[in-house]
């Protein structure tokens, strides 16, 4: 496996750099277009939730990428934060019409739907949150 890892400042404006990092990795390893769209979306949703909800955390969030012939692996690590499992928020009622729909939860719904594995871990000792993703590559 061939991995890459980088820290990004904890702010929404980091997204441009994150997308550049993701797309360079995807281009180097010749990922298909749907996978590229998917990993951009997944990382944006998870990263922006960390920025919004993990107030008081470290100055940076670490993004790690890896892959093999069949799948891509992503991880986001946030240190010095309170536990909050964003991956387990309530399901969005996507069948509902506009009157019944409410904002919120849509990003996590997209992530859960588009990936093959999504895991949340929290280590109390160093207040470390890790969210990991596995996505099977398209053929």
């Amino acid at each position: 496996m061939t991995g890459a890892r980088r820290e990004f400042p904890r702010r929404i404006e980091s997204l441009d750099g994150i997308f550049a990092f993701l797309e360079a990795f995807a281009e180097e390893h010749e990922f298909d277009a749907r996978t590229v769209f998917c990993i951009n979306l997944v990382v944006e949703e998870l990263f922006t939730n960390m920025v919004r909800h993990n107030l008081g955390g470290a100055d940076t969030v670490t993004l790690g990428l890896d892959h093999d012939d069949e799948q891509v692996f992503l991880e986001l690590i946030d240190i010095d934060v309170e536990p909050f499992d964003e991956t387990s928020v309530a399901a969005v009622p996507v069948e509902a019409g506009i009157e019944a729909r409410r904002p919120g939860g849509l990003g996590v719904h997209l992530v859960r739907t588009m990936v093959d594995d999504l895991e949340y871990e929290y280590e109390i000792e160093d207040r470390r949150m890790r969210i990991s993703v596995r996505k099977v590559l398209e053929k």
Partner: protein, 94 residues
């Protein structure tokens, strides 16, 4: 890069990547939409839940007043996102 333009026939043209860092730019334009319109996604390459949320809020405001946004020319990836989000029930998509 993300841009919003208007065509001569009044359609709203979205260009580039509509991610969470572009919400304030889009909000300023979307809040000025007061009647039914077409949004053309021909040159929109990407959208996340941040953009979907703003589109939803704008559509909700319009529908409450008997108006609506119609979406056209979604690329296959964006079309899939709209389907997963259940936005087929929220927007007319052509």
């Amino acid at each position: 890069m993300f841009e919003i333009k208007h065509s001569p026939d009044g359609a709203v043209l979205l260009h580039g990547r509509f991610d969470a860092s572009q919400i304030e730019t889009a909000k300023a334009v979307f809040e000025g939409i007061t009647g039914s319109c077409t949004m053309d996604f021909q040159n929109l390459s990407y959208i996340s839940s941040a953009g979907l949320g703003l589109l939803f809020a704008t559509q909700k405001r319009l529908v409450d007043n008997g108006e609506a946004i119609t979406l056209v020319n979604l690329n296959p990836h964006i079309r899939e996102i709209f389907s997963i989000a259940g936005f087929d029930n929220i927007f007319a998509i052509k």
